[in-house]
Amino acid sequence: MKAYSREFLEQLYRTLYTIRVFETECIKLYRQGLIIGYFHPYLGEEAVATGACAALREDDYIVSTHRGHGHCIARGGQLNKMVAEVLGRETGYCKGRGGSMHIADIATGNIGANGIVGGGLPIGVGVAMGVHVRGSDQVTIIFFSDGACNNGVFAESLNLAAIWNLPVVFMLENNQYAVSSPVEEMSRVPDLYKRGEGYGVEAHQVDGNDVLAVYEKTCEAVDTCRLGKGPVLLEAKTYRHSGHHVNDPGTYMPKERLEYYRARDPIKIARNNLIEHARCTDQDIEAIEQHINQQMEKAIEFGKNSAQPSVEAFLEEIETN
């Protein structure tokens, strides 16, 4: 392993753990009936967003998915506004108009989550096209999934980014299920990064549960893009710890495979990094976790205490539509 500062490894751990806590606590709120609609947890996939976003500059962009809370947090999203949004409150990122599937944080370059599988792919390529026209060197990471790979816009977007050498990192989060359909049944070649070659796109596979592996590969990809030699396709192999959304028990997920990936929990791996390579003690880590738990508690309080959007103000707002 390369040498990393304790500070950096702690930062990665903080992000991973924050995502874990956000999802876990929101599932509780969902079970209490406080969150409604669809809520797609990122549990088990935290290392992908964390490692990828750590490789970006402040002025870069990300495009997210319906399973997007992790991306938002990894890009520096604020827990208060996120909790308020999934609770549908006026103080949320989208003033309660968007909800879990549509959180966007333009200030941090997060173009937003998307309720349409694959919907963000062309949008991300267009963000990069804007960069290209302006002559800037910002990089865009597009998060998408194995499910989106079988939508036509994946083929189109990969090709479009390739013919114009656009600075895009296609971050394929292969969590091995399109909703409930296993990737090996939905495509003959389940190693999806191999599709890059046909489009002349540099492509690699990486362990999506190992935050440093994701970080290192993304750094290389980002460098390639900044030099004007993009795009790059990265396939991060990972696994969901639960069903497609909160109300999906995920009975179709084989026990042994789930156990295998739970044993390779991205949080555990990052925790080991801290102990083995940064001389952190269990107490040090507990202190980090404690702090995040408190922040999340405060965020939930903030969300719960925030006003519901005013129906009158809303009706006035849409009057001129």
Partner: protein
Amino acid sequence: MSTETVNTDIKMRELMVREALNEALCEELARDERVFIMGEGIAQRGGSYKVTVGLLDKFGPKRIIDTPISEASFTGMCVGAAITGMRPVVEILFIDFTSLIIDQIVNQAAKYRFMSGGKGRVPMVLRTQGGSGNGLAAQHSQSLEAWYYHTPGLKVVMPSTSYDAKGLLKSAIRDEDPVVFIEHKLLYMDKGPVPDTDYTIELGAGDIKRPGNDITLVAWSGMVKRTLAAAEELSAQGIDAEVIDPRSLVPLDKEMILSSVRKTEHLIIIQEAIRRGGVASDIASIVQEEAFDYLDAPIKILAGKNTPIPFNVNLEKACVPRQEDIMRAVKEILNT
């Protein structure tokens, strides 16, 4: 006749609609370096209807971009570029092909501002072209404005003259929200006066193409010309029709239509699109709700036949309102 005041010192030229559109694009590209154009065959070839001729030479391949046949994705690219501060104009050669981009327009472009709680904007223009009349058959001749009219978050503009085409396109490019700009394939070669100056036309301002007192005829896009011809011929027979072109369907110049109806007390709406679920029906419902007491007769709608457009020229003609249909309907409504 136009409601805009045009300074008499300004030189007027006779331009084809496609030339007027080209000028609008040219001026906006020069004025704002965030503007760029994407589409199939729009750069080197200058577009199938020659609207983008010469732009590649003037503005270069970074801003005038030929795309692969990947409509969904290059339209989606414009959404992404627009969110991050650019002003893209995407051309979809036929409105029929916009079925391929409907997710990006309806689920992405139209909703982003709303879903982001007003923090994000999508200042893009979708230029496309519709209508029947030259034997292009069922998949290249449709009038699909109702699809976009029906979707909150989009503006829908349909010019009928060179003057309007230029002024409206410039406004559409400068607008902060997504605009679906629908041209008509039969109008590209029509000539009309265009001032030699920078002007815009507000989206949502209709135009009285012909003032009159006896009956209000509302028509847009390809139907305006036909309606004006009918009005001229009726005038020789002593019927004084007022012809209103809303020019943009969203926003709609409701007040212009309502005040005309209050004056004439009769209304016919003429659209090329099929009637079922169409814009004409919606305008009729607005007028009956807001000006019922002024109406002397039921509102009449003339619309396209409820069918895919046939290839055969005679069958094709039978599918959309003709000048004689308009004249007959006027006489029927006025009982003359």
